[in-house]
């Protein structure tokens, strides 16, 4: 029986949304065994599923626990499919350096943004948490990043975001990178105030914003 690849991709997407790690891995394996294009499966299956999960999150149907487990399912599939991507297929990869500001050890929000960005095809350089401003700059230069994404959960460390932007200006590289900020206490008003290029209220919105930024060049 000929496998219908579109049907397989749909089932892959469904299994991510359903938070079914085992099923996602099983389907990913079927795709590999049948030599179906792995990159297409990631795009139309796994990433598609994660985007749907992100949409459910924006609609208030899914919350952070659901999103985290959806991402586990996505990564279970990625682990199987990634080694089978043909290099030429990938096309231009936009790069994001992401981290939590100095003084803050809360990573969940940042990790969710990372997940959604990866699902959207970005190459991620995850610095982790408690990151001094100069490390954002150094990594962004080293990786030739397109975007620097800065997160904080705490009001007491919000000011560090401004420090990163200030450092980019001091080093005359502000125009080289787009800066997006987010986290519990952050707002559009705050982002505008510190001179960030964008603000996202949640992980799904962050991925959309990042895609818009790289596609429009603005």
């Amino acid at each position: 029986m000929q496998l219908n690849k579109d049907e397989l991709f749909k089932r892959l997407s469904d299994s991510v949304v359903a938070m079914n790690e085992e099923k996602t891995a099983e389907l990913a394996q079927i795709i590999v065994v049948n030599q179906i294009d792995a990159y297409e499966a990631i795009e139309k299956g796994l990433s598609h599923g994660m985007e749907r999960a992100g949409q459910l999150f924006e609609e208030g149907e899914y919350f952070v626990p659901e999103l985290l487990i959806c991402s586990d399912a996505m990564y279970a599939g990625l682990k199987i499919l990634r080694p089978h991507i043909k290099i030429a297929e990938e096309g231009k990869k936009y790069r994001v350096v992401i981290g939590v500001v100095e003084g803050d050890t809360h990573e969940i929000g940042k990790n969710l943004v990372k997940i959604m960005l990866e699902a959207s095809g970005f190459e991620i350089y995850d610095l982790g948490y408690d990151i001094p401003p100069h490390e954002f700059l150094e990594k962004a230069k080293e990786a030739k990043a397109d975007i620097i994404a800065i997160s904080t959960l705490m009001t007491t460390t919000m000011g560090r975001m401004k420090d990163v932007i200030h450092l980019l200006k001091e080093e005359n590289v502000r125009e080289h990178f787009k800066v997006i900020v987010g986290g519990g206490p952050i707002s559009q008003v705050f982002a505008d105030y510190i001179g960030a290029d964008g603000y996202a209220a949640n992980a799904s919105a962050a991925a959309k914003l990042a895609r818009k930024m790289v596609s429009s060049g603005s």
């Binding site: 626990p65 050890t105 809360h106 969940i108 007491t156 919000m158 206490p185 105030y193």
Partner: protein, 348 residues
């Protein structure tokens, strides 16, 4: 009115001269006292002195010395604490999970409330507080804070779906620990001399649904607060950190004593929250901590005006407060902006 008179009359539901201001200040106290936050949190006596210093420096504030932090659980249950030495962090933090496998929960030992984690430090703080006529503080976090500290926040959130029974076991352990800790404090100082500031960060609807709150957090919070109330504690503040709007119906359902104070973060609306809570409760909040930290004098002034416009409409009474802990690096001129706006617009 003196500050004590103002707050007392507010809690009694009687007319007051102006809106009180609670700075919700901890790390800021350390800064203006001239000590780093590591020293502040490691030494409750210094924290108390720093609190007195704040009162002396800003007599218009309606405040008292404070001590404590939200990120607990790991240290209490046998893990490590990360101190904010050299001001690297805002407050002490749970450094890493104590356990990471759900199967380990059953064998997790119950800590001794006399010696575990922050408890001995808060006892020292309470002893000095009582000597100065201030209330003693009961354990401030919810069981969710402690449970998430024990297993790590990411695991906690995932296990809500993957291993719900394990979460209930953790919440049970955390609740028992909080109540046993409170027994000691109430026994030592008397319920009438105790207060509780119940900080609620992880139950925000940006993290979990109201259904999840109802199933996994509410029963335990209700049990703990019910215990305090049964012992005669009446001085209760609930700090809703984040957006808890969809949880408010459950907070009202808990039927906390009249005159309980609900302080809210920037994500919630003062007027709407006041309407949902009703006139039996006192409302507090929610000056933008972002503006306090990096805003101009005028921006802070306008934001305080916003809070006063909305908060003073609440017939249950209102306290002006930052949306969360006053950022330690808040410029002093922005504190002056708060005072100026309060004096211009905060009188009844």
């Amino acid at each position: 009115m003196t500050s004590k008179e103002r707050l007392t009359e507010l809690i009694l539901g009687k007319p007051i001269d102006r809106v009180p201001f609670n700075p919700f200040s901890l790390g800021f106290n350390a800064r203006i006292y001239g000590i780093d936050r590591g020293e502040f949190y490691r030494n409750p006596e210094k924290a108390f002195a720093a609190g007195l210093h704040l009162m002396e420096t800003y007599p218009w504030m309606d405040t008292r010395p404070s001590y404590g932090w939200a990120d607990r659980g790991a240290w209490e249950f046998g893990g490590k604490i990360l101190w904010p030495d050299n001001n690297r962090f805002a407050a002490p933090q749970s450094f890493e999970p104590v356990i990471t496998d759900p199967k380990e929960v059953d064998s997790l030992p119950d800590p001794d409330p006399q010696t575990a984690g922050m408890n001995p430090l808060i006892d020292r703080f309470n002893t000095i507080s009582r000597k100065h006529g201030f209330p003693a503080s009961l354990p401030g976090g919810t069981p969710t804070n402690l449970s998430a500290g024990i297993v790590g926040k990411t695991n906690f959130l995932k296990w809500l779906i993957r291993f719900p029974e394990t979460i209930h076991k953790l919440q049970r352990k955390a609740t028992n620990f909080i109540i046993r800790s409170a027994e000691i404090t109430i026994g030592k100082f008397g319920a009438e001399n105790c207060r509780i500031q119940c900080s609620v960060p992880l139950e925000s609807n940006r993290l979990i649904s109201p259904t999840t709150f109802e199933a996994f957090a509410k029963p335990y919070i209700k049990e703990i607060l019910g215990y305090y109330i049964s012992k005669g504690v009446r001085n209760i503040m609930v700090h809703l950190c984040g957006d808890h709007t969809s949880n408010l119906v459950h907070w009202v359902d808990m039927q906390l004593p009249p005159r309980t104070i609900f302080s809210i973060g920037l994500e919630m609306d003062l007027e709407k929250t006041g309407q949902l809570l009703g006139k039996d409760y006192v409302l507090a909040g929610n000056i933008s901590t972002g503006l306090l930290q990096v805003g101009s004098f005028q921006e802070v002034f306008e934001d305080v005006k916003r809070c006063l416009n909305k908060g003073m409409k609440h017939t249950g009474g209102y306290i002006l407060m930052p949306a969360c802990e006053l950022p330690p690096d808040t410029p002093l001129e922005n504190i002056e902006a708060v005072a100026q706006a309060l004096y211009e617009y905060g009188y009844y």
